[in-house]
Symmetry: C2
Amino acid sequence: MTFTGWLKMANRNVEIICVGNELLIGKTLNTNAHWLAKRITSLGLTVNRITVVGDNLNDISAIIKEAIQRTPCFIITTGGLGPTFDDMTLEGIAKGLGRELEENQEAMDMVRKKYERYVAEGRIDKYEMTPYRKKMAKLPKDAMPLPNPVGTAPGVLINESQVKIIVLPGVPSEMMAIFDESVAPIMRKNSGDLMFFEASLDVKEMPESQLAPLIDEVMRDNPYIYIKSHPQASEKVPHLELHLSTTSIDPKIARQRMSKAIVQISEMIKGKGGKVKPIMS
Amino acid sequence: MTFTGWLKMANRNVEIICVGNELLIGKTLNTNAHWLAKRITSLGLTVNRITVVGDNLNDISAIIKEAIQRTPCFIITTGGLGPTFDDMTLEGIAKGLGRELEENQEAMDMVRKKYERYVAEGRIDKYEMTPYRKKMAKLPKDAMPLPNPVGTAPGVLINESQVKIIVLPGVPSEMMAIFDESVAPIMRKNSGDLMFFEASLDVKEMPESQLAPLIDEVMRDNPYIYIKSHPQASEKVPHLELHLSTTSIDPKIARQRMSKAIVQISEMIKGKGGKVKPIMS
């Protein structure tokens, strides 16, 4: 049973969709996907797929349709929520779901209050509710805005049968703030208290091809532990990071299982002449 | 006409597929996709989609089938080429394409020569061609191995009707070395000498919602120029990066077009009380 297969049983599956040409031309490193994947995993859910598409209506609506068909419990999107012409994530999602895009009163109030505060703080002189600003409050029908504690465009929650679609901005500070304030509490409910545990070992003087059969054996003996080897930059001496992980609702059981596997693989590596030590993080 | 739509005309489309649980649990930041996207864009091709899937046979074969159906000119995969149990990219691709996986003599010679060199260099004492090592030379039928100048597992090139599938390792130094040595020359032929040009402006004291109509106007006047605004971390004063890009086979024409658009948008921003200056990189 593979790591992914095992967690699939309870549908804790999550897909991340990042929207932005800047990611496809290699201008921007996708730290949003990395941050979200780490947080979602630590909340006990499983990220099965991450997709990056451009600021293009057809591409956004296509990936939403595809992801819905795989019926994850959550789809999280980032990017494309601002006021400019190429911010079209909500329009793309509405198209993908076959819903109308309509002015959402709650979202409009959120956007208006933001501009009132910007004026009060002297960040801008005055404001008008231009079409460019109203755009940030046009949501797919029956969507719910999520407050943005640090920026203007609200996040959005859409229920599509069993799938919760969560739409977040691309600016990292805004994406993280909305996630922590509004998304993490919803996800925690879905994870059923499952937690993710991990540990790493530093292995030297043993090539990956010699380590491979040892990993196979330890994973056979420890069915709840997933082990993956990560070769480090080429050196004269073979050098790898061995990453062990498991999920459990009980930290004590998780620690026992991890310890058993770590002791077993460490002794096997030493027995074959390799060097091994824990990596503290 | 959008940026993506415009380049689609000549099928210079590329999809990147990254395989690895470490990306889905947020252990590893996907610098491979970023590096590839930048290099491929600079070679005059267009990355349309980046997908990350786990070390899972069904997920790998599914994404390969999906990507093939979108008929890009290239599919580039990274990760899952090593000797361990969860290195299954080639098996997943073979499954997705309905091809057999078979020992490739050329790949086997490449792997064997690597181990002979490791012994000669004193990195390992001796070697045997274990099943774990032979695995790196098992390729989908009619595939071609690409030499790996810095690691053990060769890259792979597979022709599937009009789509070239290029399979690269996940270790960044190996991925980059094979790309530069074997992949870039093939891609350059496909790009028809098209080049990518970009420039950035630093814009202050103008909120994105006020900039949005100016971008619309300048893009209408400059149909070959794509402009995207990137809000910077929240500050008291609004702060954005404005990224302008175009592609052309003629650097002189590209520079003229870029200059015209930069001058126009800069004057409009200043006229509305904003501050603008070029960002030198």
